[in-house]
Structures are given as C-alpha cells and as structure tokens.
Subunit: 170 residues, 2 copies
DNA sequence: ACTCTGAGTTTACTTTTCTATACTCAGCTG
DNA sequence: CAGCTGAGTATAGAAAAGTAAACTCAGAGT
C-alpha cells in the first residue's frame, strides 16, 4: 500500500535495500548474552541437574577462569542465581540455580537440540531426550500463532515491529 | 528402581555425579556450526530477505573475510545453497538461498528472538515481528509433547537417550 | 581497450579464548 | 592449629577469532 511495493515480492516488510538499523535486534541482543562459548553449555548442565562449580568444571572440561567469568555474568543477568547450601560435615558453599529468566531460554536451546538431533546425531540416536514429566511423551517445539494455528516454517513472515528504525543517515 | 536413586531427586536420569560423555551432545554439535559469531545473524538476514554478498555486508557491517568464510561454511553444511542469477545489464552473480536444513533452524532462532523480545526489547517493543502469513496472527514457539499436551517448562525432564554414554575410564 | 562493480582473497594487526599452572581463602576435621 | 577441600583468583604463553584495509578478478558497458 505504500511506494515500496515495486519489486521484491518475497520480503514484504523488510526489503534488503532498506538501510535497516539492526542495533535493537532481539536475536543479536540475546546472542550478546548467550552467544559466547561455554555459556549455553553451562545452562545445559544446569538443566540436566548440575549446580556446583566443580560439577560444571568436571563435565564441561572448560577452563576455570572462563567458567567463573560465565557464571558471574549469568548471575548478573539474572539467568542464574546463587544459593548457599551446606552438606553435613562440610562448610556452606554457593550453588547455582536457574531463574525464570533462565528457564525462558529453554525453548531456544531445545530448538538447537532438535536440529542437532535431526541432522547431527549418532546413528543410534540422540544422547539425551526430553520428555513430558508425567505423561512421558517425547517433547518438541512447535510454532503456533495467536489463533492457535500450527504454523509451517514457510508461512512465517517477518514484518517491522514498533521499534523498527532505519539507520540514521551519515 | 536401580541403585542410583539414593540422593538426588531432581535430575532423574542425568545425575551430575555420573561421568557423562558429552561429545555427542546435539546442542554442542549444533553450536559447532551456528555458534560462531555472525553465523546466526547471516541466517537472520536470509530469512528477512537478503541473498547477496553485498547485502549481508552492508546490513551486518561484518568484515568481508568472515562473511565469505561463514557463507562458504553454511553452503558446505547444506544450510544455504548458491544459485546463479542475472540482473538485466549486469553479469551473472551468485546468490545465497536457504535450504530445508536451514529452515529447520528457524525454531531455534525464534526462541532466541522471543527471549530477546521479552527481556531485552526497547520500551516500544521489538524491532521485527513474526506473523502467520495469511491469518496475520502473531507467531511464537510452544513446547508440546507427542500427545499434544502443551508442556510447561518445569515439566520437561531430560533423560538418557539411545546414544547416551559414560566417559571411558582413564 | 578501459572502466566499473560485485564478490571475493590476502595480509597485517588487535582482541578474545584457551590451556596450564600456581596461588588464595574459609571453615571443618583430626 | 595444621591440613584438607571446594570454590574460586591470578598470571603467562599459545592459538583462534575478529577487524581493517588493500588487492584481485571476471565480465558487462562504453
């Protein structure tokens, strides 16, 4: 309906010829936090049940200084929280637990896992499976819309949102 | 039911005290491909409608050598494919298009986007929105099980799969 | 024949990560 | 009160990744 509809039929609202400002992209902003090496793998281990520094270190085999750095950042960002716990006959120590903000990353990581299961698994299958606790069914992620239609990947359209901006002219 | 059920009630099948072999983890294997800087942002631009080297370069502002390297890798991995196209009055040039294998990464990236929309968006909202083509409804990702239950994040249980292994003893 | 342009390649430099080892610190145990 | 242990911190050297800018190359246009 505006003067832009002249050539590109595919990308309805995000014409590549537009000088889009990508600095407020939600994908890029999420990657700023979870895009460094080890970060997502640390979260994976938290979901699988680890909570202590030594557990992460042992299972991941990652350098201690990076582990300490990543854990500190995840706590700062509110994705993990520290608790103090005490085993009988030992002094109290910190433990890392996931927050709601951290749980909300599960869908993204399940997406990565599902892709790996499909394209890069061993012949026998995946090393770990996700199950619905209780019903026991295999869990996977789906794309749905407001009106609860099951959306095919081809039927997703990206359009400018409220914070869409063009890059300021130089 | 086995001798392992002695202390940790939370992680039913992936006790952090087990010496799990993580080398065949689907999450880690996916990150080997899309975990490097720029890779996911290149895919984002492909979904948004870019296909040419110069378009990626301009919108991402990433160094040419890395862009070339990442594109080559994405093509090698079968996530993108090259086509030749020719605009009238110009010589034919390569163009990058997404494959099915690439489309299958959409759920993972939508997961990242959704998290960014929720926790890191500008006050006005997100810069880009995903819509169901046709119905026009807002699209988001959901976790479901086999039996089509809508699964809460807390009700996902991770259990050893067919390729689960312990680390070989040293 | 010469120029222009998109699509890269090459090279040199900087920054970040990785690995490895040594060191600290608090408090329970002997 | 010395020693042990988990959870770090500190430091140094090597490797990988990222950045910036110059250079190449093929073919259409003039």
């Amino acid at each position: 309906m505006d003067a832009r509809n002249d050539a590109d039929e595919d990308a309805a609202g995000l014409d590549p010829r537009l000088d889009r400002d990508t600095s407020n992209c939600s994908i890029a902003r999420t990657l700023e936090i979870v895009g460094e090496k080890w970060t997502i793998l640390i979260l994976r281990e938290v979901w699988y049940g680890s909570s202590r520094f030594s557990e992460f270190e042992h299972v991941l085999g990652c350098p201690r200084n990076l582990l300490a750095e990543r854990l500190k950042m995840l706590v700062q960002e509110g994705i993990l929280a520290t608790e103090t716990y005490k085993e009988p006959g030992a002094r109290s120590r910190p433990r890392y637990v996931i927050t709601q903000k951290g749980m909300d990353l599960v869908p993204a990581v399940m997406g990565l896992m599902q892709w790996g299961d499909k394209y890069r698994a061993d012949p026998e299958g995946p090393a770990v499976e996700a199950r619905h606790r209780g019903c026991g069914g295999h869990v996977d992620i789906q794309i749905r819309c407001d009106r609860d239609h099951h959306v095919q990947l081809e039927d997703i359209e990206s359009i400018p949102g409220p914070a869409f901006r063009l890059r300021p002219a130089v």
